[in-house]
Symmetry: C2
DNA sequence: ACAATCCCTACCGGAATGATCGGAAATCCC
DNA sequence: GGGATTTCCGATCATTCCGGTAGGGATTGT
């Protein structure tokens, strides 16, 4: 856990999303160089290796990375970084983008008692679409080629 | 807690945001009719009254509602619903919109060790701006005048 | 053989979530 | 003034989630 003690904040992305995204960007930077050991990524980004294993497992099950065992093994991206979006990564790590259960991506299963006089639903629907669009419009390739802090870096 | 058991989902809004937003929309609908008791809102929306008290306390401290004690008392919006945004409500209930500690609204205090070679920061910055813009562009008045479910209601 | 590496499962302490409860203070009506 | 109503305030509590740690098994290169 990097950074300050955090009070309540809205729309905070957990370390699963944060660390996992860092790993993916690092793999994107080294795309085409064969497999990269998780240890080297963990050390390079100063993150706990054992914890990363869990996150990478989710990424592998989602078909985003492939692992190779044994000495000299490691992980690599399955697809070209230009064809993997931040949305793909976030969904693999944290599940579908779903501000409320009634506004899930794809099919909505829930039958909400607040319908049909629900005044808040349109808000969550809009929010879901907005977030998904923002995440899906940014690729790993774009993130990987922007390694340096711009503007007033925090 | 309305709805189904929820597996892991990204960007999920807690009941603070959900219930609190419902209360605000209800108060917006009855704007200009004097104070509304929390009990009537709780019964109308089928929400736990005692829990709502806590949420409304946050809304009051944020200057969004005012309470009047005693028989016939209740709450009412301080400002016209057309001048209160969903963003105001969410921030009052769940804190600033902050995907990561390094991408807080306003001033960023954190000095992150990942800078300046952080490839993920631009993602969270974009996300923060996108979410804030979506929430700030929708007013309580708009939400209140759309009480009926549209499209395929969940 | 042996070291490196992925892979899998279980566990664990602390914090957040989603409430409930009891009571104090103000206000209205009779 | 008495009582009903309602906001306000703080404590408590059960459950779940978060952010890891620990240990071991399977596979591969040298």
């Amino acid at each position: 856990m990097i950074g300050n003690p955090l009070q309540a904040t809205a729309f905070h992305v957990s370390t699963r999303g944060e660390y996992g995204m860092r790993v993916m960007v690092e793999l994107a930077r080294r795309y085409g160089q064969g497999t990269i050991s998780l240890r080297s990524v963990a050390e390079g980004e100063a993150l706990p290796e054992a914890y990363l294993e869990q996150l990478v497992a989710s990424l592998r099950r989602a078909g985003l990375v492939s692992g190779k065992r044994g000495a000299g093994g490691g992980y690599q991206l399955v697809k070209d970084p230009a064809h993997v979006t931040a949305g793909d990564v976030v969904r693999a790590l944290e599940g579908p983008i779903e501000p409320q259960v009634c506004t899930a991506e794809g099919e909505s299963i829930v039958n909400c008692p607040h319908e049909p006089k629900c005044g808040t639903r349109q808000l969550w629907v809009k929010l879901q679409a907005t977030i998904a669009d923002a995440l899906d419009s940014l690729t790993l390739a774009e993130l990987a080629r922007w390694p340096v802090g711009h503007g007033k870096a925090g």
